[in-house]
Symmetry: D2
Subunit: 336 residues, 4 copies
């Protein structure tokens, strides 16, 4: 099986599964009124060192689109990187959840929003003929495998604040970015000017659990109605909550991300010794991009280990909390 094609091919971490099994004891009020879910806001407030409101979701697409619907209405625009998951891979979910907001593609190197392009997208402020930008979203870590520095996040946030946009972080790989920067969850989010976060847990060890983290808890009420309306308010919510709590418990989220990031570094080092491979850059999180000779691609495909190859001929490789040194060696051994 292909370990490197995505970080979502892994199953659930044993500790996550144990928590799910454990929470099955007895009966519990439905729709998030159970005792476990009632602790969710506190658990995340503790992690983020400030009062937050949490809306559990079962997919990252739902978490992103629902978040954006809180800060962009149907006559607004949402600034997003042209290669972002939000713009490329959610089949109009942002348009759906917002009731028709425009997602405006912003270019930028390394999967990061170009600050000049971001600013330029505000040039028609007050013009009734143009959707008004009210929100920006960026991925941390990015879909290009890079990680915004805290200073970079603050610059994006500063531009947003100056132009009255709210800032959303797509944290499908939040854990990997925190480990990469060696900072706190708070530092990488609200302390840097982020207004809301899709806190990803599925890729990094859960079954199906994401959390919208609202640094402005007053948005929670609107979010709850929208969660219900979009089918995200599960009757047996405790099974999602249990995953999220176990994910935070004992820093499992950080431990798992550390394994994944280290695996990416290790894989990159191995590739750097191969003449058939040309790394795009040093991986900062759990993803790397490499240009491979034709023979190398063929060998990987034969072994069922090839990653996606993009239009520019770069192969994407993902590592995960489950990647082992022997997985990496098996991969490298395919290459001469």
């Amino acid at each position: 099986m292909n370990h490197f094609i995505s970080d979502n091919v892994t199953g659930a971490h044993p500790a996550i599964m144990d928590a799910v099994v454990a929470c099955n004891e007895g009966i519990a009020p439905s729709y998030g009124n159970d005792e476990l879910t009632k602790t969710l806001n506190d658990a995340f407030s503790n992690l983020f060192e400030t009062d937050v409101a949490v809306i559990p979701c079962t997919s990252g697409t739902a978490a992103n689109a629902l978040s954006l619907s809180l800060i962009a209405g149907p006559t607004n625009a949402i600034c997003a990187h042209e290669h972002s998951h939000v713009y490329q891979d959610e089949c109009n979910a942002p348009e759906f959840f917002t009731g028709g907001a425009r997602v405006s593609p912003i270019h930028g190197a390394d999967g990061k929003l170009d600050l000049g392009a971001l600013s330029a997208s505000f040039s028609r402020k007050g013009d009734y003929h143009a959707a008004q930008p009210s929100a920006a979203t960026f991925s941390q870590a990015t879909e290009s495998g890079s990680v915004y520095s805290l200073a970079e996040i603050k610059k994006v946030a500063g531009i947003c604040r100056a132009n009255e946009l709210k800032l959303h972080m797509d944290g499908a790989r939040f854990s990997n970015a925190v480990v990469s920067l060696g900072c706190s969850a708070a530092e990488m989010t609200w302390k840097a000017g982020v207004d809301m976060l899709s806190f990803g847990a599925t890729k990094n060890g859960c079954m199906a659990a994401e959390a919208i983290v609202l640094f402005d808890p007053s948005l929670a009420d609107d979010a709850m109605y929208r969660a219900k309306r979009s089918g995200q308010l599960l009757s047996k919510m405790r099974f999602v909550t249990a995953q999220l709590l176990a994910f935070l418990d004992n820093d499992l989220w950080l431990d798992n991300a550390r394994v994944a990031n280290n695996a990416a570094t290790s894989l990159a080092e191995g590739l750097s010794n191969k003449s058939c491979a040309q790394l795009a850059s040093v991986p900062q999180a759990n993803m790397l991009f490499v240009r491979l000779d034709v023979d190398a691609v063929a060998a990987l495909e034969k072994a069922g280990l090839a990653g996606y190859v993009d239009a520019k001929g770069m192969m994407r490789l993902c590592t995960s909390w489950r990647t082992t040194e022997s997985d990496i060696q098996a991969f490298l051994n395919c290459l001469t």
Copy 2:
């Protein structure tokens, strides 16, 4: 804890949980491309004795609204019982998923669509000023605890077909209805004229698993894009699939429903011997409605065993696959 307030307070049946744990072995392609999910259409086709396409969902609201979006566009109307979950309890999910279709409330005794009222709702066919009915939905079992007979379903379906409406069944309690009628899944659906089904599994023993069953598999492609767009296409889909397959396996779905239905019958019998209680009707599935004396309500509330009381003073009581004879006795013992 209150066992009778809803059938969604129960957790997961052990066999479901075992299946979830079991499917966690190894890695698997994401977004439903795993080996387990590939068998889903076959498993349901086998159950329904015809080729069907299945779209897994994580909530009944999503399953209903996504289903309806396949058969009702934004200038259409959807005929639904005025007391149905679709009309009352989904916070505009049908309007959301369909892009603004009208849900037209239809009255009718026992939670069932009145055939005359249904027909009357088609009176403005071809009038550009009125949303055109293109779909009808009904719940089986109903939210009033009743069950449509096969003949009744055929009548509803006949009216729909004659007026070019597609017919959706909200089967949140599908299992309970099948057990109640003693018929096959096929007989209660496509053989009676039903076009699509929200096959409910969560209430009857799963964690979070519902299946849209399309008796016209050509709709599956549209449904998949809509599933993705609404955040229902899970990356680790196998965890939902595993629940659904285990639910079907060895007729667990029927066994569980039988327990629930029998518990309702047993509870009703017990109540019929209480002078403080007046049953609305003989329960047909796993729900019953009872009018209780003030003292009786107070006693139940004190014991934490009261069900919802509606505007007309009727208390709703649900039973489940987990309800035991001792649960029932504890309830009855509260009443003098």
Copy 3:
């Protein structure tokens, strides 16, 4: 030709047409930046004796739906009479413009909202499973030909205010109602608690001109973007504005409505002398409902003068600013 089938079969009043022709002189900035349109807010503020913002529209459906979109979001409900134009005759325009709000039908005699039913519709406040009412709309004059008294409007408005709903008035026949009550435009709207108004002009003498009147001018900005988005921001807006200004000029709107209302009274008097006719009630505005013998209906149909007959066998007859005494006599002469 059938004069009585609707008040929108008439063309434009000569004074309106003259104004349209007159405003065609020279060139003018587009999209409402012309000198004429700049005076629109002042003209309506003068009429309503308070600062208002005006959004011109080309149809009543657009005016109603756009108005409602300012006060009801996609997880909200809008309370409307079950026989209202908004609920019956706009082919899901409210759902469309609001992004999926529910229009909740409220019953009530004479086309007026029943206060108890209105209040009952708020019973699920704070329940995430139910769309939350945020707006109510009522028609003045109503589609049943009745007119709310000022006291009645204040009662509706009081209930709305107490429950944090905004109140919209569908004034397709606003002029007729003002004439009927003999009050001022201010008294019938904001002084009675109305938050916004679809001020109808088309039926009463314009070609295609309606005005959304916002008693809270801070909503104008949102409304303008929504107007553009829905295709209501005309490039040559002056042609709509000219109609609205001429409509207000010299109280043309009141004069026209007086003709129409008097014609209805006159027609009703004539009908009250016919044994074949049974009036539903004394007309209060420019519409009346009458039950006619089969022969009478046939005679009218033969003469091309029959109005719409509803499901209960009542024929609706409308009068207009163009209805003459001879039109009325021609109608009555058909009846023996």
Copy 4:
């Protein structure tokens, strides 16, 4: 007053106004059931030499967005030039009318779709994570003042057909393009592979009248419900129809466009003799772009004759059916 800032600053051509006045005689059935509107399909079918269905609209934005909603659903993408009116100047109207389709920006020189970029936008066919292109739209004449040749249209249409996309033409300046190419309306549309057209009449001499022309008349029914739902089905439709019919009558549309195009040519010739001016290209329709010295811009602004200046410093100048030789001379006289 500034004649050159846009072709929508002009009022209505006298013949259009005469037709509007003339159609005001007597009463007429509403909502397009009048005798005039009944001839609309025939008039346009005659013009286009094939059976077409026509939906009148009151703005170009409505015509474009409503058209696109017929061929792009909420999980689809619409390919449009990145500088097109549809993408830039309609404040999310396409997203609104389609229920959330993505408008995918396609680059290309001279305001025309680059064929390679268009083809590249189809690369994710069948991928549930990406909105599926189902429609393309292009402007004829373009917003850059250029005109697609018939061969160019056929190429775009060929690519669309090969990829199962429907092709919409935004003909806000349709007349100018037909005159420019010297071809027939049929040759420039369905004979070249265009599926539907927003036929613009407002800019070229009407008050507020656009026509959606459907070369597949079977779409008319869906279009009518959508027209009603969006407030485009006017009660007194004859006033729009009268404009459209007068516009076609005696080839007024062609005569007007010829005046406008010739004025652009004349203006360009005048500018080519000015050392302060550098034309972007020879105008093909009624728009031209010119780079002017700072002093020249200042002089025009002082005289109130400056056009819009874009981000690249090019001034846009529009001519119209009302532009006279003396208007042009007045403009040129401002420049030394």
